[in-house]
């Protein structure tokens, strides 16, 4: 159980009420669970929100996250998403220093990754890119040689394929 698991995506369905996020986050904080990202989103049911957590660590730590979280009264369901049978997406915004000499080369990279240039200044551009986290990682690798002013990533949200839905 103490072996390292790969990146796991945990989906938590919680009551859509005030204070719910702080209950989940405070639990992670006080139990020392190390998480990579956390997003909260609406579901088709207005009473329920979805918290998506990306986690890296040991199998034992994963078991602890799941079993401690499921004890919270506000948690309706918690499960890990099966990598093979799920889709993950993340949004990235990158502000890159760029004058007219770099512009076309950068645009080429952005196009290859099917990103969009959403803001253009004399000395900078802002790129919007969505996709699986690996694609965003690869894009960041590609633009590393430019002067990156700022990067924001939303953290991922994920959903399983097919109709065996966990939504209520």
């Amino acid at each position: 159980m103490d072996k390292i698991v790969n990146r796991e995506v945990i989906s938590i369905l919680v009551d859509n009420r005030y204070n719910v996020l702080s209950r989940v986050v405070s639990l992670f904080g006080r139990r020392g669970f190390n998480i990579e990202s956390l997003t909260v989103s609406a579901t088709n049911n207005p009473d329920i929100s979805r918290v998506t957590v990306v986690f890296n660590g040991t199998e034992q730590a994963l078991h602890q996250i799941i079993t401690q979280t499921e004890k919270l009264e506000v948690v309706r369901d918690i499960f890990t998403l099966d990598i093979e049978n799920s889709l993950y997406r993340e949004l990235l915004l990158a502000k890159i220093e760029c004058d007219k000499h770099d512009r076309s080369a950068l645009k080429e990279i952005v196009d290859i990754y099917r990103g969009k240039i959403v803001d253009l200044h004399k000395d900078s551009i802002i790129v919007e890119l969505t996709g699986p986290p690996e694609k965003l990682d690869a894009f960041m690798e590609m633009i590393n040689c430019y002067n990156i002013v700022e990067i924001c990533r939303t953290g991922i949200t994920g959903i399983s394929r097919g109709v065996t839905t966990k939504d209520i």
């Binding site: 204070n19 702080s22 405070s26 006080r30 034992q60 078991h63 499921e70 004890k71 919270l72 009264e73």
Partner: protein, 553 residues
Amino acid sequence: MRINGSQLLAEVLLEHGVDTVFGYPGGAALNLYDVLYQYSDKIKHVMAAHEQGAAHAADGYSRTTGKTGVVFATSGPGATNLVTGLATAFMDSIPMIAITANVPDSLIGRDAFQEISITSVTMPITKHNYFVNRIEDLEDALRNAFRIANSGRKGPVLIDITKDVTAAMIDYKKGEPLPLDKNPVASDEDVQKIADMINQAERPVIYFGGGVVASDAGDELNELLEIADIPATYTLMAAGILGYDNPRNLGLIGMHGSIASNRAVDRADLLISLGCRFSDRVALNPKKFAKKAKKIQVDIDRSELNKNVLVDVSVVSDVKPFLQKLLPLIEKKEHREWVMQATEWKNKSGDVKCQEAELHPSEIVTAVCDLTDKDTIYVTDVGQHQMWTAQYLKHERTRKFVTSGGLGTMGFGYGAAIGAQIGNPDKRVIHFTGDGSFHMNLNEACTAVSQELPIITVIMNNRVLGMVYQWQTIFYGKRYSSTTPERKTDFPKLAEAFGAKGFSASSPAEFEEVFKKALQEKGPVWIDCAIAKEERVLPMIPGGGTVEDMIIG
């Protein structure tokens, strides 16, 4: 019927069989207390000296009666004073309901006088909590609080009610308590697998904890010991499940556990753990704990499985139905040699007395035990006296030993003893404490006096903070940092000042004499017992150590 929020609260409490609550009034709680006044023939309110005492009393009440303890407090400091009491109950999985009043909703979030967000403060130390600022939400919150506190692994729930809600009117119809959540029960396959392991084991040991008490599975456990001939050891939370004279009872496990228990666990080829969590005071070195044994863990809380020690077979189950399913599959067995070996270790005592002293802790505990009947409830504070009491009492019955196990709360004892005595008016309650612990919350003497509770407080007075002092002696080169406070408190006089009775004793004969006198008193009594500061709690396994590191004398 049309009633206000405070009446609704009283009605729901009555529906849940609550006839006793503990607490302390205040500004935001005026409406609640006005209703408690109206309902005083149905609900007895015990006013403490301090909200912490009230919380410990509700806890002690719950531990000794099995019912849900209820505590009331006002907003702000009233609510924050509950924190240690809630945390104590949370760590020991005790069902409790805390009702706090808050400032009116119109003032929430404005740093009003005595405003605090107690739901934020208590999030990590309650199973769940509610902030109720709409009268329509109150009934639901109250009913669910009882359900949550008593379902699965039990624990405290807090409900914070704004003052306007305590006065707001609503229609109310009598209802029933919500059904408890269904407890998990081990599958047939898992039970069969475990039965096979038990039937094949040569040196099995059972290690059990508070889950057996909460599940009321003592009879089933005793039967298992009998049929399969397995020796057993218990945590602090489960003293009394096995009779003292039971030949298979190895005694307490862990840091200050018996030599027999710790050795048996170390030599066992199968360890069956029931309703316990391999805490750091038991599995001092989680990697080497019961290293020769296959380990089975049965617990109602899935998150406890494999949390501290990795086990071979883990099952989420309430202990009682698990044992009920298991028993028919267990073969009648004899492990004569193994039990004999374990029992032989039992005769090796850790009772090393300080030579110069006249009155020894073991003599005090033994005398109390011999002079009281089997129904007596023993409550402790935290520290050396707690361990001596756990070690030397001849535990015979469940829910008769009340102690703060998980949180280790000094100052727990007196409040808990008051709750125990209120909940068990026909039984004798003895409160063991040390001079350190007692100084923390001895103010509750005024509660014991006004309630006329014949609690006997036995103070093991060594004039130092004994447990820390002991560690400083052994591990810190006798550098006694802040453990020798040179206090001059005259406990018998102080008892008198509170309106209680005070005695002192400095020899076994003297102790016996004053204890017999104390038993005749109708109100609270303190007995100040002079013991030596060099007296140590032994045996002892230092943190991170194994049975090999055990200090015996």
